[in-house]
Assembly symmetry: C2
Homo-oligomer: 403 residues x 2
């Protein structure tokens, strides 16, 4: 809905929330660039560590940073403002408003995933209720790629590029010293990032040979049979497993393993930052196939979300433009919304940046289209048509002999 | 020692052994290029999976591969011939000789680390004993950088570049969501790769804040105190830990953890391909600092040795030239040796490729110069002078605020 007051003057606040990505600073700089030069904008406050910085009045002023420094910040991975996993409740939001009102903040931009878009929604609704004229925009960001009404989200393609590079190398490593190799990839409810491992396939028997995503129930007996079949046939087996895999009852395998499960403010169980799932699956396979079988597990962990020097240029570009679009819409009189990246065509690849309602994205989870999931243990080749343009060119593998 | 027969005609065998690297194919292609066009060389046999391929008569002919395909192979990570961890004993070597003699193989090149150079030495000595005119050369390769009489070894710089990139990203990740983060890095006896994490430091309080290498005894109580001090001061702590850390008695911490320790043919304990060490150190810190402290551990595992697209150009170049040098020496009449990379000057950076005796490198382990190890928990800034030229330029980090 368009605001009654298109020339709303005041200050702006920008926050970066949730898990950082390799391109989240592109979106930050995009918003700053989009606001710069507008007669409506006085100061641009960067909230240090997101909402927690707002209620502590901890801000970094962004309006006077020279263009070349902004550009270096944009290219630096992770959240330059600092992040937070706080989920504001009514009381928390009241504190935020005290700060907004005191500082005459009229433009609020929150860069983050679905938890963050929900925070943005809550802040926005409180503003409406208090008849405080605020323009609230959510800028998408998540390596999980799990925002609804988006073709994909900034941060995902760079993480996917990391996963593809890692699997290209690890598939060749596994060829040279054959055995069973399990790689655990981030993704609580959505298997997009785990599915990205399929980009590593260039030759007939390239791994990953098996891919397990949270969208399909994980059956440990089926897993053992799947691996035994591939290993028996190829003499090696490379496996991509999402950290969020769960059993038929929907209980994450990780929860079954952990005696004392750590949870964050959103009630999410800690899945990353531990090798427990990979080690458990290794043990299961050793019991099944014998301890003389070479079985290894790696957990990609935090490396995959902020790795320097492995950024998708498409991702960097789109993250920047998503930030700019939010600023432009806010300045043009739109009151609130979330920026959604939607694909217009695939050949040539082209996207548009659309405003959608905050309620259309907040706290909802997009998952992999079932058409991409094959037999619950693999990803269809057509997923490459979706993902390829986002990740860009990958190193070419030349083999001396396939096996 | 120079051979009596400078124009020795016959076939060549090349093998790639041990853990693969991102540039081991550069050395393979370097040897092939160095041999190509010589009237002494008839066929060039690539041993499929190293010595195990020789005794199985499993070879890939390399003499007719076009230059452009060779170049693509050189740029492909991991061992294109396949690798092996077999350690030939007298009986095994006898089988190798039967194959060498039958095939009129007069040139033997073995690309690998210190276990592999020892294999090369054994094969060479058996040839001398049997008065079989064989030219045997070891071409260095190891991400561990632990060969004596070498300034550094091919494969190390690319792995170090990966570690530096990972730490640049992870340090920024840890800034944005502060807590304690442990990263486990490969290195059984030598801490070079773990020490490479120091390249990620660009600003005063950048991590890694603590670096533990196998060259210094690891004391768990000192570790807890070290982390508590940094965490108390900075509100975060990024830690690099070598997988090979051991206690004052010399027992690896990993050995103490594992109930059933897996060993390879060289008697080495399995350190990689499990998150056990990182998870153990996390638990120790949680007990010490309280479970509400955010503590995470990642184990870089196999990602660091063959990651595609993160190759040091210096490393790639040197690996190629080391292979060529071995071929040139063999063709010029030298009977045996290992190629050692030695630094001539640091500014401008310049190296030479010298022939050293196989016995001067075989089965010996180079470790970090004690001058680089500070208080048993850090690496001196001067290590950057040694490592910087090998890794090359790294992404520049621009911060909005240091803390």
């Amino acid at each position: 809905m368009t605001s009654q007051n298109p020339l709303l003057k005041g200050n702006a606040i920008i926050g970066q929330s949730g898990g950082p990505t390799a391109v989240i600073n592109q979106s930050l700089v995009g918003v700053v660039e989009g606001l710069s030069g507008s007669p409506c904008i006085e100061k641009i406050f960067g909230a240090h560590h997101a909402v927690s910085g707002i209620i502590k009045n901890d801000f970094i002023e962004l309006q006077d940073i020279p263009h070349d420094r902004l550009d270096r910040i944009a290219k630096t991975p992770s959240a330059a403002l600092g992040s937070s996993r706080d989920k504001p409740d009514a009381e928390y939001c009241k504190k935020i408003f005290d700060v907004l009102a005191k500082r005459n903040v009229r433009y609020f931009f929150y860069i983050g995933g679905n938890d963050s878009s929900d925070t943005c929604r809550i802040v926005n609704e409180l503003a409406r209720k208090n008849k405080y004229d605020l323009r609230s925009f959510h800028v998408p960001k998540t390596i999980d790629n799990d925002l609804v009404n988006n073709d994909h989200t900034p941060g995902f393609a760079s993480a996917a590029k990391f996963v593809a590079h890692a699997f290209i190398g690890d598939n060749l490593d596994n060829r040279s010293l054959p055995g069973i190799k399990i790689n655990i990839i981030m993704g609580r409810h959505a298997g997009f990032l785990t599915a990205a491992s399929m980009l590593a396939r260039q030759h007939d028997d390239d791994g990953p040979h098996l891919i397990y995503v949270p969208e399909a129930a994980f059956d440990i007996d089926q897993f053992k049979a799947d691996v035994a079949e591939i290993y028996g046939r190829l003499g090696r087996c490379l496996i991509a497993v999402s950290e969020g895999i769960h059993n038929h009852e929907g209980t994450p395998i990780m929860t079954q393993l952990a005696a004392n499960v750590e949870k964050d403010a959103h009630g999410n169980v800690q899945l990353s930052g531990t090798g427990a799932l990979g080690d458990y699956l290794s043990e299961v396979l050793k019991e099944h196939l014998g301890t003389d079988t070479r079985i290894r597990a790696d957990t990609f962990g935090y490396l995959q979300r902020c790795f320097a020097g492995c950024v998708s240029q498409t991702d960097a570009h789109e993250a920047r433009l998503a930030g700019r679009k939010a600023a432009e819409l806010a300045l043009s009189g739109e009151r609130d919304g979330s920026i959604a990246i939607q694909r217009v065509s695939n050949n040539p690849y082209e996207v548009e940046y659309k405003r959608i309602e905050l309620t259309d994205v907040a706290a909802k989870t997009q998952t992999l289209d079932p058409k991409y999931i094959v037999h619950g243990n693999n990803i269809d080749p057509s997923f490459r048509d979706y993902l390829g343009p986002l990740v860009g060119e990958l190193p070419i593998v030349e083999l001396l002999r396939a096996r």
